[in-house]
């Protein structure tokens, strides 16, 4: 039972994936500090090998399809424990069976990776709605998010198209990183504690108007908190202005 360890980066993971595919059945992949030591496990440090990484991607796209690549990439972003090994098993199946593997929807290996990808895609779509910007004194729009999955790279394109005339920051405080869009350029950077934020003079007033609108828009004869919880899970509410 060999476990391929990688550094947490996507390229590191793809390197481990390439090694794992050569390693035969029963191999697993794990992030360096997340691996649970097992009695019979043999650990291999995968390192980062751009050639191997490119070959792994090529295999997924060639034996599978662009769709397979998206499933693998989204499943990786889930950061769910065991996702890496699930992707390895899925890619092994792709290598054996070719593109038809993505149609084997009742196969547990396929179902697992498709399911992870769907929950990442679903959360990314939700956050196109759940990001809440606050205007800072220098007119930058700042937003704090704490998604379950690493969806930040999947939503920046949306906000770039939408708020391209503004400078903005989307800060994933759970992962300590941020997407910074400044003068029409997008960069990702580690960001732990933002310094005390200074808000624009109008900010509090607009927030109050929004909260008031939100309260007023509910029809009291139809009150249904269960349905509301289903749509806005409690875990997301602390960064939503209207629930503050």
């Amino acid at each position: 039972m060999r476990t391929f360890l990688y550094d947490g980066s996507f390229e590191g993971f793809l390197t481990a994936l390439s090694l794992g595919l050569e390693g035969g059945d029963g191999c697993s992949i794990s992030k360096e500090n997340a691996a649970e030591p097992g009695l019979f496990s043999e650990y291999v440090n995968s390192g980062v090998d751009p050639k191997r990484a490119a070959a792994a991607r090529d295999l997924v796209e060639r034996r599978g399809s662009a769709e397979s690549w998206q499933h693998a990439r989204f499943a990786f972003l889930s950061e769910v424990q065991g996702a890496e090994t699930a992707i390895l098993d899925y890619v092994r199946l792709l290598a054996e069976r070719g593109p038809i593997a993505d149609s084997m929807l009742a196969d547990d290996r396929v179902k697992k990776v498709h399911g992870l990808a769907a929950s990442v895609g679903g959360e990314a779509h939700m956050f196109k709605g759940f990001v809440r910007f606050k205007e800072l004194a220098d007119k930058t729009l700042y937003s704090k998010i704490e998604p379950d999955h690493n969806i930040l790279p999947l939503i920046t394109g949306h906000f770039r198209a939408r708020l391209g005339e503004f400078n903005w920051v989307i800060h994933d405080v759970r992962r300590g990183k941020a997407a910074l869009y400044f003068k029409q350029r997008l960069i990702y950077a580690p960001l732990t504690a933002a310094r005390a934020l200074e808000f624009d003079g109008k900010e509090a007033e607009v927030q109050a108007l929004w909260k008031h609108f939100f309260k007023t828009a509910a029809i009291k004869e139809r009150t249904n908190p269960k349905l509301q919880r289903q749509n806005v899970p409690l875990k997301y509410r602390k960064n939503l202005t209207e629930f503050e």
């Binding site: 038809i100 009742a106 607009v206 609108f213 828009a217 139809r222």
Partner: protein, 432 residues
């Protein structure tokens, strides 16, 4: 006459005008993919931003320009004889507020409706001014839904289609008789005329844009309308037949159903204790069957059965009445047939079609494809295997289905309020 409070602050106005707008069920921000220079874009699938305590989605700043109105419709909170406080927002205020909300990502855009101030034309002109301000001064490319005021000039209706993504005229009451009773001043004719005009312009612009790309879009997200449920005696059959005609003949994108909330006392209105939410939910289910499942209104309801069943969803009722068509072999049946199985939705039907290309499906596989087996099991076979009741009869299946709804088997304790809870958990009200 209306008396405005002068210098009323924006917060107070927003409260009055959002409060009056909230009974409109539409919240969709889908169907348009506007973008380009300026701020904002529309997202083809629509985006919900929040959900209020009634579980309804917020995607647009849904607001009236004014709640003053020259009409006196019995069911409407804005009727002339209601002496609640009146307010009016200026075009600048509407555009400014939308923009501030939009840039903080509270909303996808604006849904602007209005009571009728002075005249339909005057009202439409003011509304258009607000939307143009938003589009031209703020260079706003987000979503705009504009209500078209019945009785306004054709040229104003045409302008609405050029500035908005979606346009709508609310029918509210499904028959002319009910309109005459509850909405003096409106007739079927005044409502249908602008709808017809919009339908023609939408389809003409679509055709032209196919050959000449530069033709300006006309309401690219189409037209919708709303019907109030339970204020008047129309049957579900009349309502669903009307919806079917609106989808087929007028090419409407959506018909919304709004359970009547008795906000006003009026001896022409029924004294309802609570809004008929379960009935509204069943109508939405039937509406979905028309639009996505290939059903016709006549298949769902006939003259002998004009009301939707409150115990079972309309697809299950249809299947129970057509047991000769079941069980279906999922490895062979067509997509259209599979769509008609209770417990199978559009997504799982597509999954079945895809998965069976990779190999024969067994009953145990169906659950993995997202099929709700506790309902579907009575209506399908997989590889010839059947997992439902041995001698399938309508009654036997009904009893089994009811057991799932109420595991204690105490069918007589099956109360309406429980059904409401059950029925509304998965409600589709207003979404998409």
């Amino acid at each position: 006459m209306a008396c405005y409070t002068f210098y009323m602050d924006l917060d107070k106005k927003l409260e009055i005008l959002a409060d009056s707008a909230k009974y409109d069920a539409s919240c969709a921000s889908s169907g348009s993919d506007r973008g380009g220079k300026g701020t904002g874009s529309a997202h083809m699938s629509g985006v919900c931003h929040s959900w209020t305590s009634d579980g309804r989605c917020i995607s647009l700043l849904k607001i009236l320009m004014t709640n003053e109105c020259v009409y006196d419709c019995a069911y409407c909170v804005n009727r002339r004889s209601n002496d609640s406080p009146k307010a009016i927002l200026t075009p600048d205020e509407i555009a400014g507020l939308t923009f501030e909300f939009y840039k903080r990502n509270y909303i996808e855009g604006l849904f602007l409706s209005s009571g009728i101030v002075v005249s339909p034309d005057h009202t439409m002109e003011l509304m258009l001014k607000a939307v143009r301000k938003l589009r031209e001064t703020f260079r706003f490319n987000g979503y705009v839904h504009m209500k078209v005021i019945p009785g306004s000039d054709q040229s104003l209706i045409d302008q609405a289609g050029l500035w908005a993504d979606r346009v709508s005229v609310n029918i509210e009451l499904p028959t002319d008789k009910s309109l005459r009773l509850l909405a003096p001043g409106k007739t079927k004719e005044t409502v249908l005329r602008p709808m017809n005009r919009l339908a023609q312009r939408i389809s003409a612009a679509k055709d032209e844009r196919r050959s000449i790309k530069s033709t300006p879009a006309f309401a690219p997200a189409g037209q919708s309308t709303q019907l109030i449920i339970g204020a008047t005696p129309e049957t579900d059959r009349e309502i669903i037949k009307l919806s079917e005609a609106l989808y087929d003949k007028m090419r409407l994108k959506r018909v919304y159903y709004s359970a009547f909330v008795p906000v006003m006392k009026d001896n022409r209105l029924p004294a309802l204790l609570e809004p008929p939410l379960l009935r509204e939910h069943r109508l939405y289910q039937a509406d979905w069957l028309l639009r996505f499942y290939g059903f016709t209104a006549d298949e769902l309801l006939d003259e002998a059965h004009p009301a939707l069943d409150l115990t079972f969803d309309p697809k299950t009722v249809w299947a129970l009445n057509n047991l000769d068509k079941f069980p279906l072999e999922v490895n062979k049946a067509s997509y259209e047939e599979i769509l008609r199985v209770p417990g199978i939705g559009v997504t799982s039907a597509k999954r079945i079609l895809r998965a069976r290309r990779a190999g024969q499906l067994a009953l145990a596989d169906l659950k993995k494809l997202g099929v709700v087996m506790k309902r579907a099991v009575y209506f399908v076979t997989a590889g010839g295997k059947y997992g439902g009741v041995k001698k399938e009869s309508e009654e036997a299946i009904k009893v089994k289905l009811l057991e799932h709804k109420n595991p204690n088997g105490q069918l007589n304790l099956f109360s309406e309020s429980e059904l409401v809870k059950e029925g509304l958990t998965g409600t589709v009200t207003g979404q998409l």
